[in-house]
Symmetry: C2
Subunit: 441 residues, 2 copies
């Protein structure tokens, strides 16, 4: 069957598949066709056709996955949601914004900020990722240490199920207790349950208090872990609490005016009324820079946002990890990563949302040592599982972490939980056509 | 079969069924047996036995449901979780507390507050409800306007599935993206998916900024709704924003030293640095009382907490509603309730968490007019559904709202969503023994 001709026959607009062969984590796939979705009706048409023929369907926001969540690894139809990019409605009384799935995340904030509001989850890809993708991936970002990830901000979605039925999942209300909570089942399901076409999000006012932004340098990663523990023990809720090690700082320095000292730095925002407690919490800082102007604040934030791309640019390939450990285990996890670096003879700069125990160690490799990089990655993930952590805090499972994610569930939750997830997948997608071979289902 | 003898034979401790025939909403049931759960093992024993014989099982925290969620309406075994009341672990580094399901909610805060932390969801029954019950019901309370409900605070649960298998659902971590989010499926599932035996909760520091508490009186409910709209438009995030109408205030006054003026009052907490914006937001207040001392603050909070019990004490029966409407529709919903009062010739004092659009109109009735009270209730719920609201924000569905909840899903979400919920129920509970005839499944 010529899938492309069939799709054209039912009035769908196709794109060249060449633009959709790789995500940002270098995971490859080859779609049989790429459909541009201009409306929910287009999505319905694709799903009815694909369900009847048993063809895989992969929703594609902007292709910013780093885990292979959006590539057509065994063929099928990619639905590009980017044309559905309208902001449908916003209420400054209800503090809810209703958007189409293809809207770029930063456009939501560009709309909200002049009105005095913002949408907190801010993945590093926010300048290009779609809100539908961020919902499917349960994305996080710098502000999540205070505000939580996508799961804390999505109230409802409209989605097209594998059989072509459209449903609204959840209620665009701040409270609702009718029925089971399927909204959170959809968040983080990585396109395996249906295609999200619209999203209702909570928003919040930009804080009215002043925020202090500091960049604190340290001579040991022990002290860096200790500082985060101290912040917790001193009951300080930071607005952001980020780590960049020396290699990351040096990579960032190529494009941004940023200082480098010691082994690395913490970028921390706290409300001004918590400044004293922040100072008390810093464990042997070697140097502390306080951002004096709004411009300086902005520059530091942008520098940190750019860190992953900066590190990617200094190596042929970069494998970004996304581990989470209990705060109490931060000093140990640093030691482990440095041990693995030495054992494997590889570099692994560390950046990440350290304030909630979420680190992105980035394993650098080239064509000669991809296998070693993957072994490094697996060793680290296994260590994290043994320590009671998670192998992903915000990037998701995709195809990259499928086996390790299954292992984590078996060790932490019990094999039965995995069976329940597979059972739920079957309830939504009897024929198994939605983004197959992804997540743990 | 003599269920009680069979349960004794396998070493379980029984209680007299007489203490378990009614919840706090007067919903009645008659269990064949009541088992005291002293450990997860006890729960496993009950589930294996019940699953084999096809006997319904109803988890019971402290019986504080107001919707019939915990009564054995068609027989079966009630599992009383109250003996499982240990605080297992708390980390002031991870800001996570791990407790058994039978712990009373206020005991968690009694443990946390001297350590500088608190657990925000605070249902009016917090002095007696269990944390397992609050999780199953997705409960709310006064602090939820700022902090959200149980769904925003439960990270993981341990539960016994209908076939007796024990699983941990979720991860006790601030971020985790492995697998589907089944934690939120369990929150609010009202005991229809399994028995929760342990819960991991996020906690937060007690705010370090000062809080202003005011009781503002108004001469019209139009102005009361308008004040909440103004707060939103002025981008004020209150810590609490509660309403008590005059009848509620008069009932509360019997036990508390509280003033009464106009048609009712808003009890509002804001951070001290938002005082000015609060003053700007009050729409034609007739009188504003500012709490001057900690004692006065505490007294006002307690008075509001006591409101439902106070109203219950002035009528033979009281049917507490739990509607949620978009903030923009608050003035209209007041008008509708007063219209219904007049049409039915019945009294309906209103109290509730007005800050997030969640009101508890309490329909007063006696043995002579129960049918009219139920018609009033149905009319109000139908109005709310038509206005895009929800018929429950925190009390849940139970048996009370089953039909109306199904209607809400059909109107707002599509019948298909209901089928998905039923499908998921079957994945967990093939024989349908977990708390049958409750929720929408």
């Amino acid at each position: 069957m010529d899938i492309q001709s069939e799709l054209k026959k039912i009035g769908l607009e196709l794109k060249d598949v060449e633009g959709y062969t790789e995500d940002m984590g270098y995971f490859k796939g080859e779609a049989d066709a790429v459909v541009l979705a201009r409306s929910t009706e287009d999505v319905v048409k694709v799903m009815r056709f694909a369900n009847e023929k048993g063809i895989p369907v992969i929703p594609w926001g902007r292709g910013t996955s780093v885990t292979g969540a959006v590539t057509a690894i065994k063929g099928g139809i990619i639905i590009d949601m980017s044309p559905m990019n309208r902001i449908i409605d916003f209420s400054d009384e209800d503090w809810i914004i209703h958007v189409e799935a293809g809207v770029v995340l930063d456009e939501i904030n560009a709309f909200l900020r002049p009105r005095g509001f913002f949408f907190p989850p801010d993945p590093a890809s926010s300048f290009m990722c779609s809100i539908g993708g961020a919902t499917s991936e349960g994305s996080g970002g710098m502000h999540c240490v205070k505000y939580g990830t996508m799961k804390d901000w999505v109230l409802a979605t409209r989605m097209v199920l594998p059989d072509g039925t459209t449903v609204k999942v959840g209620e665009p209300l701040h409270k609702n207790r009718v029925g089971y909570d399927l909204t959170h089942l959809v968040i983080g399901s990585e396109g395996t349950l249906g295609v999200i076409t619209e999203v209702w999000l909570k928003v919040v006012p930009i804080p009215s208090y002043k925020i202090k932004r500091v960049l604190a340098f340290f001579d040991s990663e022990e002290d860096i872990g200790r500082t985060i523990i101290n912040l917790r023990k001193n009951r300080v809720q930071p607005e952001i609490a980020e780590y960049m090690d020396l290699k990351v700082l040096e990579a960032v320095k190529r494009s941004f005016n940023i200082e480098t000292h010691g082994v690395g730095a913490l970028l921390i925002d706290v409300p001004e009324f918590e400044t004293e407690k922040l100072s008390m919490s810093l464990s042997n800082p070697s140097y502390v820079k306080v951002a004096e102007s709004e411009e300086e604040k902005e520059e530091l934030y942008k520098a940190r946002s750019y860190a992953y791309l900066a590190v990617k640019s200094i190596s042929k390939y970069a494998m970004s990890e996304d581990i989470v450990v209990p705060i109490s285990k931060l000093p140990n996890v640093f030691k482990k990563i440095r041990e693995l670096e030495e054992n494997y003879g590889m570099e692994c700069p560390i950046v990440g949302h350290i304030g909630d125990g979420n680190l992105h160690p980035i394993i650098l490799y080239d064509d000669s040592n991809k296998d070693k990089a993957e072994a490094f990655f697996r060793d680290l993930c296994k260590y994290v599982i043994d320590e009671g952590g998670s192998i992903t805090g915000e990037h998701g499972v995709g195809i990259q972490k499928r086996e390790l994610a299954i292992r984590q569930i078996e060790v932490h939750n019990g094999r039965t939980l995995l069976e329940l997830m597979k059972g739920i997948k079957s309830v939504f997608d009897k024929k198994g056509i939605m983004n197959p071979y992804k997540q743990v289902v």
